[in-house]
Symmetry: C2
Subunit: 132 residues, 2 copies
DNA sequence: GCTTGACTTAGAGTGCGCTCTAACTTTTAA
DNA sequence: TTAAAAGTTAGAGCGCACTCTAAGTCAAGC
């Protein structure tokens, strides 16, 4: 068996704060974490896997609302609703893919500007050479 | 000469709201827009180019604070400080590039999960075929 | 003359995702 | 035994980037 972890240990493992872990639990993203006899949370290996995946979703910009939907599906039908879950993730993938494209597109314009500044700098340098 | 545009027209052209345009002006991102005799804003072609570039920065996630720095450089030294401006944009480019990489990395995990769900669905389908 | 609609300002409100506080209990180490 | 560290809850607060409201001005068309 694997040792159950305290909230602080999970915070370190997942790079979320203890505040955020409690917040996620409060708003239904993490369900029913075991408690020690003193009421302290004890996280299982499964909990940690789940939290890490949740965090992947967050880091791709999925809103909490949508994560709640996903979490609900997983909780209600642990061994089913794979189609619905997949659909939700695929929609999200599409969103993120579009977002990445737009980032790249906008970044290209910034690149262009950087290039432009480089050329202006070069011109200034040449000018100062001539005048020296 | 090009016709000066009203705030509403600029909102349409830039896909920002009139509220946002005033907000950007208030916080120093857009400086000194001309006014008609009645006090209404009249935007020049240059203003619009500037606003569009600002928006590129925003769409790549640059914080307002940093845009303010950049705007300040441009305003204080319209024909100089190219090095500083370039540096600022290059730092930002680096940030965005890293962000894109991380998005792709996290998205790969989501993809993996989608794949996993597909396989589970397939198994369920086979099972129902056998049992039918 | 009067309505409609676009504009102005200062400042308040909103939604998101945390992040922190207060007041309290429990555990651990000196 | 006692101080420090870590846990608990409910609920308040924060930072960001808008977004909207209220109260007013102004110009054009009926």
């Amino acid at each position: 068996m694997t040792a159950a972890l305290t909230i602080k240990q999970v915070a370190e493992k997942t790079a979320l704060s203890v505040h955020t872990l409690r917040y996620y639990e409060r708003c239904g993203l993490i369900a029913s974490v075991d408690r020690a006899s003193n009421g302290h949370r004890r996280y299982s290996a499964d909990d940690i896997r789940w939290i890490k995946f949740l965090n992947r979703l967050r880091l791709t910009g999925m809103p909490i609302r949508q994560m709640q939907q996903y979490a609900k599906l997983v909780r209600q039908y642990p061994d089913a609703a794979f189609g619905d879950r997949r659909q939700l993730l695929e929609n999200h993938r599409e969103t993120v893919t579009r977002q990445i494209h737009q980032l790249q597109e906008n970044l290209a314009v910034v690149d262009w500007k950087i290039q432009h500044y480089s050329e202006l700098e070069d011109k200034l340098n040449e000018h100062s050479k001539i005048n020296s």
